[in-house]
Amino acid sequence: MDFIIPIAALGILTLVLAILLVIANKKLYVFEDPRIDQVEDMLPHANCGACGYPGCRPFAEALVTGQILPGKCTVSTDEGRMAIATFLGVSLGAEEKKVARLACDGGVNVAVNQAYYKGMSSCQAATLVSGGGKACSYGCLGFGDCAVVCDFDAIYMNEFSIPVVDLDKCTACGDCVEACPKGLFSIQPINNKLWVACKSQEAGDEVLAVCDVGCTACGKCAMDAADNLIVMKYNLPVIDYHKNHKTMDPIQRCPTGAIVWLDDKHGPIKGAESKKIIRKEGRRIGYS
């Protein structure tokens, strides 16, 4: 009858543990609003962080406690946001769609190289080697760190190695803003159409020597814009988006086309007086 004791011992042991667990489950039960799970199921599960919360679950918790409105989720569809709003009985809190904008248009056909960078194909790595191959130290290096980091396939590199943002796919999560070593991306409301596609703080010939489409800080756009909409700061036009910026006047006299009108359908529109860029091939090393 030796086998009885071990069997009984193990039986008692597991029974005691089971009872302990049952008691603990009752006593230490943490109440969680069941709606959190339901709301979380309605969210896109992208965990992108565009709403300002670390993931979809914390966002769902904030939604249920009423700290935030469903419109903050930029990834969800309109129906999805509406469904959450009706489920929780709150207003949608519609947000103006925001997108990532790039403040550089210096593709390989317009920007001069100071040297050829040969190495790991990443902007982050190229920056470490005296700022990369481009002669303009502010410009886009074109290795596409932003396109790689984008979770939504919203950025592709065009034929001149400049990232292009697909406005429909962009969720304004801000990953590209962090990825760009030159700090060229920023999150902007989609209705901010007037845009300065240059970050160079140089002026005049210094700019023209390295890039055909850089801002030379001539100040014509600032002069043409009514009501001090544009002021020049550090050799760059700064647009005050609080004022009425729905005008194409400032871009017209820009000699290089650095200030553009970003049309949703047709892409960037340049002013009438800006140089036409017809060169398709890449520019060589050296200053022109």
Partner: protein, 193 residues
């Protein structure tokens, strides 16, 4: 009874006979969660915590099993007891300290049945450690695990930026690095008695 000094036990488990790098236990979590130093540290903390708890439980259970003369039940009862104790602790932490739960909580269920945890319980019994010795043994094991974890995570963070031969990309290079790390830990062999 084993008369090994506490200090010698600690150095032995954390460096010379490191659970991950010398015994190759707990490899799944070692490879899985070691891509960032921060998560590696948290995982290490959670493992240390569970190791200490399970070592204490195992000591109690072993005393019980010896009393009823059924030491062959060690393995099965260790698993049962460790798993349910960790469950209990997890619930307790969730109730009392939500902040700690958020930091450790995700990792706790992952490691209840980790082989390194079970190894601590089984080894301490076979070595005949007392209560305090078991505690130090588990603590050393946990700290050794954390050390291996952080070293690996640091290396992997650097590895991302280096160019790897295409055949060795991904898990292959990680395993290679783990092997080299383990080799270098053999250098500690002269430390202990």
């Amino acid at each position: 009874m084993n008369n090994e000094s506490l200090w010698s036990i600690f150095i032995n488990t954390s460096l010379i006979n490191n659970f991950v790098l010398a015994y190759f236990l707990g490899i799944c979590s070692f490879l899985g969660v070691s891509s960032k130093v921060e998560t590696g540290l948290k995982m290490g903390a959670a493992v240390t915590f569970v190791m200490v708890i399970s070592a204490l439980c195992a000591y109690g259970i072993n005393a019980l099993l010896t009393a009823i003369n059924a030491p062959f039940l060690q393995l099965i009862s260790y698993i049962v007891v460790i798993a349910s104790t960790v469950q209990l602790v997890e619930m307790f932490v969730k109730k009392t300290s939500p902040a700690l739960f958020k930091a450790l909580g995700i990792f706790l269920p992952l490691i209840t049945t980790n082989c390194a945890i079970l190894a601590v319980a089984l080894f301490q019994t076979s070595k005949g450690y007392g209560l305090l010795q078991s505690f130090v043994y588990a603590l050393g094991g946990g700290i050794g695990f954390t050390l291996a974890m952080v070293l690996m995570a640091g290396l992997r963070e650097q590895l991302v930026f280096s160019e790897t031969v295409s055949v060795a990309k991904g898990t292959v290079i990680v395993l290679l690095v783990a092997g080299i790390l383990s080799l270098s830990f053999m250098g500690f062999a002269g430390l202990g008695g």
